[in-house]
């Protein structure tokens, strides 16, 4: 089946050239005199590139801003944030800004002496040290020279893994660790990529949907959707099974689960395209709604269905 569509026509820019246009929500804020209260951390304010934020005499410019004519001006579209006298703009479309303790999903790009380089959608590749992974033979085991020689048996180029941000190097690159049974190599599923800003910090980033699908919401915007693994089937601390942890072999996955994985992937794609932040509740609701309406996996992506679907999702939250 082949369908042809047209590109959406560009917005008409006939009126309002003379003055800057703002989103209705911020129109009043902009019209008001800029004072200190407005930049309070409580209320969020959106900017467009070129919007003047405040006077540069009272405030310092931070990331996403520049100074011109003694005014601090936003250089990106995003939300204004202020710490004391420092004004920054957090961009909406940006790479992932790591913080210690974040859960990320990454892909190995390079194997180097005693370390792996991991693509985690950040500005630089992350580093996973050989000393920060669990190796077969127990947690307390010392790393031997032979381990360094067979690093590719643990992770090789292209492998996906889930890890936690442990620390930062002096150049700003993040260091990851997988020293927990929850972390490690990923299999039995597929990856979906969304803008990192859409993943909220949650109590748990491991979500199990009732359709037999596990989700790992990486804070870097990489989302792993896989077949559900039962708690007690996970590799235990004592019988740390190297073959299972570092295996490249998929389990048997039945068609229903594969369909569910595809469906969840499409739901996430549609929500991301409509810029809806992902949480565990919205995903659960979305999946139930799609099942109730008996929408096919492919149909979710169609324009009318997706608009209808997102309207139903965002409406029910209010």
């Amino acid at each position: 089946m082949i369908t042809f569509t047209s590109f959406p026509s560009p917005p008409q820019t006939t009126a309002g050239h003379g003055r800057t246009k703002h989103h209705p929500a911020v129109e009043e804020d902009v019209a008001m005199d800029l004072d200190e209260d407005e930049l309070s951390p409580g209320g969020s304010r959106l900017t467009c590139p070129g919007d003047s934020i405040t006077s540069s005499q009272a405030f310092m410019r931070g990331h996403g801003t520049y100074v011109e004519n003694e005014e601090v001006i936003a250089s990106v579209a995003g939300t204004v944030e202020r710490v004391n006298k420092l004004v920054t703009v957090r961009a909406i479309r940006t790479r992932y800004n790591p913080e210690v303790g974040d859960l990320v999903v990454g892909r190995i790009t390079e194997v180097q002496p005693r370390r792996w380089k991991v693509d985690a959608n950040s500005r630089q590749d992350a580093v996973l040290m050989l000393s920060s992974v669990n190796l077969p033979g127990g947690v307390q085991r010392r790393k031997l020279e032979s381990d360094e020689l067979q690093m590719r048996t643990f992770f090789e180029e292209g492998d996906l893994l889930v890890a936690e941000v442990q620390a930062f190097f002096s150049d700003g690159a993040m260091s990851l660790h997988t020293r927990s049974l929850k972390y490690g190599k990923l299999r039995n599923g597929q990856l979906v990529t969304i803008p990192p800003i859409l993943v909220r910090r949650l109590k748990s980033h491991f979500i199990t949907l009732p359709c037999g699908v596990d989700l790992i919401l990486g804070l870097n915007g990489y989302i792993w959707i896989s077949k559900h693994v039962k708690e007690n089937d996970q590799e235990g601390e004592e019988g740390f099974d190297a073959e299972a942890v570092y295996s490249n072999q998929n389990d048997d996955i039945d068609d229903a689960t594969r369909n569910a994985i595809s469906r969840v992937a499409n739901i996430i794609r549609v929500l991301a395209a409509h810029f809806v932040p992902l949480t565990d509740t919205i995903l659960l609701e979305a999946y139930e709604w799609v099942m109730d309406q008996e929408i096919g996996t492919r149909e979710i992506l169609l324009e009318e269905t997706s608009d209808f679907f997102v309207a139903a999702m965002t409406g029910s939250r209010d």
């Binding site: 369908t3 569509t5 892909r107 292209g158 299999r187 599923g189 597929q190 594969r258 996996t297 992506l301």
Partner: protein, 332 residues
């Protein structure tokens, strides 16, 4: 081929899903479904014909999908001294934007653009497809048709996109109408000595020497007639073969886990039977000759569907474009 890195388990997941019954794809399509294709002609104001094409653009986001921009520029070429060919010629070139392949080095990117250029140029510049109205002055001047394509983003199935964009851009191309100018000696004027020589010799000379020396453009530069043989420009279907099945319109992930791809470029002339213009096998996989036959037959069917859908869309775009031009005229 350029492909993103994929872990072994992802590859095996995709392969098993594709070969299971019924087959399941990552985005819920069936094996023979295409993603939605967005197309707009006449996007480059200074080109003789242009198109922007996107396969698999996500509905609201600006990004996503394989995006190709194609433009045709006609240049007058000298057959005698320049590199023109009598009767006109077609030259294709494909360049890949580094943004489409951020993981490739500039050398690898050049190689990739060269590969794509070769496939397109060998197919479209073939003498059997040459439009008949590219000549200006016989044995002196002709149009050189330069078709340039840019891959702005690649999310799989780039060859189908390139061929479709090429066909649409050539469809959109308007060749300026030319009129031949001849110099005639004034009646009763002094005839120069060297002209006399020619006159004397011509009794023995059987060659038809055209007297035309130059040409003029009766129309404005942006008016003209469409290229001859519009219906013959081929479309391409890529059959991605994961034995024993094949599927169409692979995403980047699916492409990376497919061992073998068969490109078939078919032309569907109005009056004649469809002809296969080019075929390529890409990838490390193997296929038997007996299978190829069946695959080519299937490919012809799918290409026919794609051709018909593209044809309908192009006609619709032509109408839309004329409408837009009229509106602008009224405004003026």
């Amino acid at each position: 081929m350029a492909s993103i890195s994929l872990s072994k388990s992802e590859k095996s997941y995709i392969q098993t899903s594709l070969t299971s019954t019924p087959p399941i794809r990552g985005d819920g399509r069936s094996l023979l479904d295409y993603r939605p294709i967005a197309l707009e002609i006449g996007v480059v104001p200074l080109a003789n014909g242009s198109v922007r094409l996107n396969i698999g653009k996500s509905t609201h986001e600006g990004a996503g999908g394989t995006e190709v921009l194609a433009a045709v520029k006609l240049e007058v070429e000298d057959v005698v001294n320049g590199d023109g060919v009598d009767g006109g010629r077609v030259v294709c070139s494909v360049s890949c934007s580094p943004a489409a392949y951020p993981h490739l080095s500039s050398n690898a990117l050049d190689d990739l653009s060269y590969d794509m250029t070769t496939v397109l140029n060998q197919t479209l510049a073939h003498p059997s497809l040459r439009p008949s109205n590219l000549g200006i002055l016989p044995k002196k001047k002709s149009w050189g048709l330069h078709l340039d394509l840019i891959v702005l983003a690649d999310s799989g199935n780039v060859f189908d996109a390139l061929f479709m964009a090429a066909r649409a851009a050539l469809w959109d191309t308007k060749v300026p109408v030319t009129r031949v100018v001849e110099y005639q000696a004034k009646k009763g004027g002094a005839v120069r000595q060297d002209d006399m020589d020619v006159e004397q010799e011509s009794g023995l000379d059987t060659r038809q020497v055209s007297r035309a020396v130059d040409f003029e453009l009766p129309d404005y530069w942006d008016e003209g007639e469409t290229l001859a043989g519009q219906d013959r420009w081929p479309v391409c279907v890529t059959l991605n073969i994961v034995s024993p099945i094949y599927y169409l319109d692979a995403t980047l992930q699916e492409e990376a886990s497919t061992p073998l791809r068969l490109l078939l470029a078919l032309s569907f002339p109005k009056t004649e039977a469809p002809t296969l213009k080019a075929s390529r096998l890409l990838g490390p996989g193997e296929v038997e000759l007996s299978q190829i036959k069946a695959l080519v037959q299937d490919g012809e069917k799918h290409a026919g569907e794609l051709f018909a859908a593209l044809e309908a869309k192009l006609r619709e775009e032509d109408v839309r474009r004329n409408q837009k031009a009229r509106d602008r005229f009224i405004l003026r």
